[in-house]
Amino acid sequence: MGERIGLEVSLAVSEAVKLARVDAVAAYPITPQTHIVEELAQMVADGELDAYYIMVESEHSAMSACCGTAAVGARTFTATASQGLALMHEMLFIASGLRLPIVMAIANRALSAPLSIWGDQSDVMAERDIGWVQMFAETGQEAFDLTLCCFKIAEDPRVILPTIINIDGFTLSHVVEPLELESQEDVDAWLPTYVPVHVLDPAKPTTVGPVGFPEIYTEIRKQQDMALIGSYDVVLEVWESFEKKFGRAYKPVESYRADDAEIIINLIGAIAGTARIAVDRMREEGKKVGLVRTRLWRPYPFEEMRKALGGAKAVAVVDRALSFGGPGGPIASELRSCLYPLDKKPVVASYIAGLGGRDVTIEDFYTIVAETEKVLETGYTDEYKMIGVRE
């Protein structure tokens, strides 16, 4: 097993990138991702990481340069957040459309305006349709482990899609956590050198990124969609092999005291830690409450979510992002779609909390459960409710 140390989670992500023997990094600094890229720059400067670090002049160029490096067969990494991710938006669709297995870490941060450097999930929730594999970490160990897994998933010949590992900005990226780093030897044995499936090579010239007329566009999109859907099995495989090699297990959906729960809290990311404490307290008080944390976001784990949540009386979904004037939180609206085909469905109440770095407290979870009990009794009163807003 690896050495157990206390390390800032951002730096743990950089460690994973180093151990993955990344060939190229093209990144632009933005709070709260900066520690990740600074650490990588230092690693390259000290010769610890044998990679070309392209100090691009914007996030759009970062993703563009990543397309360039990945297209010639380099294992490629970048990181960003918030405005940077938004600036990359056009490129994100292109990277997946061109089937380039880029790995990106996002330190989830609120979007302007007003300007916020603090954490929430609005940046990545605005990018659900980009066709990338997407997962969320809760702890530093997960951040490290899942980053390694992302390379193996992305580069699998059955997938060949870019992949995102999300960590909550500040709440996860900037905390020091105890975690186990693995050795280079062990990682080398588990994660082989990247062998690209398609590559720009004068010996075998290819034309990449052509014009797709209406006669073919749908078929290419279908191909891409099937690759993302099919990546589900690859994700499970990779997590299984990770557990075999390194001893830590990961599933698309994590349930906590949810089997016999009447009200289940569903959320994503680091606030699960607080939620767990709230669940334990409420259980002591006799409430049948549980927690389900979604780890794999794309491809969406439909079956696992139905299994984990279908039997509850109510699900209280806590979103750290909002679709203004729409169906509320992204996690909630996707869950509703997921549960819709069931004959017997739980009430799904959507709560928005933790925007722009606002703390989500144990009291907030009490409020959320209480509100959900009301909905169970008297029915829905709102499409979604914002928690903790001063009114």
């Binding site: 010239p205 034309t207 052509p210």
Partner: protein, 320 residues
Amino acid sequence: MAEKSTDFIPRLLPPRELFAEGHRGCQGCGEALALRQVIKVAGPNTIVCSATGCMEIISSPYPETAWRIPWIHVAFENAAAVASGVEAGIKVLQKKGRYPEGKINVIAIGGDGGTADIGLQALSGALERRHNFTYVCTDNEAYMNTGIQRSSSTPWGASTTTSPSGKESIGQNVPKKNLPKIVAAHDIPYLATACPSYPLDLMNKTRKALEVEGPTYLHVLSPCPTGWRHPIDMAVEMGRLAVETGVFPLYEIVNGRLKLDMVMEKREPVIDYLKPQGRFRHLKPEQIEEIQKVVDEYYESLVYRAECDAKAPEANADEW
């Protein structure tokens, strides 16, 4: 060096066509001609990163490709950023023994829109970072592919669909952005202006640009019969007139020193260049005079600059 057919023998040039026939460019397209000449020189050990635009659209309608070398199109504004990645990726992979050895030319191609406007940031970044690549701007002076809309490279007085001439308008009412000057401000080792009407000149400059270590830039005037509204057999003639009137001077800047390729003491009057083009048809005599004045001033300033640069102390002007 105004080439005459007796001065050089094209049939001694490499016959291989790496930009193949069958592309969907307009009849008589000056930009396709320029690209054909550039790619001919670049050779098979080349990777092209193309911006969205005329050349990209006409050369890559799935399943047809005019490219016989590796080619990637990503988006409109990032040819230089993609080329940065390709160059960096090859460098690191060759070092690690995971990519075939040998020199690979990395060429980024963008039109005037994709370079001077939306692509300026990526170009500047790539030049500043000193990637070893060549940026070729094929300048047809508007967003031709989407229907002849103006760009910052559209010359003063030209009528385009978004800067049309009319009762209250002369058309483009600001001067053409001087892109080579902006590129030169990045202090790169080599940049040049070129025109496919002077193929040997263009191809020699391409060769130099590819051989020089570091970022290099070619600004290639690309006459467009569709957008400039001249007869389809006149693209080469228009390019020649652009050069002979001084509207598009041919020069190189080698390590910061400017060398004029043709020092013309007497230039043809600009009206010879403007007249055959429908986009200038609305211009009045006093406006043409204004253009002549500006062209004269700029050309003379280049002549003066070239003389000064030739005399500069550490002048290595003979290097090439």
